[in-house]
Symmetry: C2
Subunit: 192 residues, 2 copies
DNA sequence: CGAAAATTTGACATGACTCAACTGGAGTGG
DNA sequence: CCACTCCAGTTGAGTCATGTCAAATTTTCG
């Protein structure tokens, strides 16, 4: 049918009937640059799949500093999961960094999908499992590597992101200041 | 039947037949203090549910330093998830900190359970979803809070763990040195 | 009781932060 | 097409949170 179902096929096999049913629950939408898919304080109503574009998920701490929790590009899911599953106010903002096309599933629709198409449980189990493994890897790296090492690995693993988002956001994602990332980069340049 | 099925009932409802089938796939085992449930380099063969006891999951970095990724106590699942799902060598060690009773499910058995009892997909989706939310919370805290603040929050949220594992492991879990945690603690004492 | 393990303490070192000034595009409007 | 502004990125000086190392002390447990 479309890019979304191609994506689903990587994880589960669906009958035509199931595809049609799933499709009936999808909401297609386009956001503009700087618009919010989720705003802290509001309930996160949808699981959001990115068809095209890019977003960032971030939190504000007590001192008003932004901390980037994650980026999202094509084929990634975004949203404040905690808020979504409990339908309570979100702590994070999800903001588009460019015009972004998405597919969304609401909480009730997803529960219904789980009921009618149990393979969807499998799909999301696999996706979240994967996200969890990456999350643990990130924690470990924050503990065991220097800022420079983390930056080099990030560059290696997510070149598409390094090229497409401003440097100060990458610094925030890595848990360092933009100034320090800048000095790290000049060090790397000198070395080579 | 037993504590494990009580635990399952918090997430999903099972028929007697299903319970019996699940039970036929469970492996009961007891480890002694210092024994390894998973060893880095070996494949993680089981998802392990802790009935009683306590464990730690840790990695060694290139300089031979230990980094504690997580603790596990009653009702928690442990194992190297990445190794388990792909059946490749584990990067982490899971070691018992005291005599520990567990229930284990092997990779093939779990796949079969998913097939025969689709509710198990839901169970593990919910469990991993929860673990993922906590993991993200931990990342954010590492970025936005000082070591002292992280320690105070950890004490609040996991008093059972603070009381039951050595301080130097908690330091490692928080991403700081044992010496620094010691000075934090003496600061806290002076303040009160 | 004695040895090993865990914790504390203190002197010193350093990675990363803060703040402020400066540089260099990328619009935007006159 | 120039002048102006704005935002991202750079640079440098000074500072601070946390790390390192070594020794002293306390706790645990065989």
């Amino acid at each position: 049918m479309n890019v979304f179902f191609e994506y689903l096929k990587r994880y589960i096999h669906l009958t035509e009937k199931e595809e049609a049913f799933i499709n009936s629950k999808l909401r297609y939408r386009t956001y503009l640059k700087r618009q919010y898919i989720v705003q802290a304080g509001d309930v996160c109503k949808y699981q959001t799949y990115i068809v095209a574009g890019k977003v960032r998920t971030f939190c504000l701490d007590d001192d008003g500093n932004e901390h980037i929790i994650s980026f999202g590009i094509e084929n990634w899911w975004v949203g404040d999961l905690k808020s979504f599953i409990s339908q309570t106010p979100a702590e994070a903002d999800v903001q588009c960094l460019s015009k972004t096309e998405v597919i969304q599933i609401s909480h009730v629709d997803l529960e219904e999908l789980y009921k009618e198409v149990p393979k969807m449980e499998r799909l999301f189990r696999l996706i979240i499992q994967n996200a969890y493994v990456n999350s643990q890897k990130r924690i470990l790296r924050n503990y065991s590597l220097s800022a420079k090492e983390r930056y080099l690995l990030f560059q290696e693993e997510y070149p598409q992101i390094v090229q497409r988002v401003p440097q100060y956001m990458i610094a925030s994602y890595l848990g360092i200041t933009k100034e320090f990332l800048s000095t790290i980069r000049s060090q790397i340049l000198k070395e080579s």
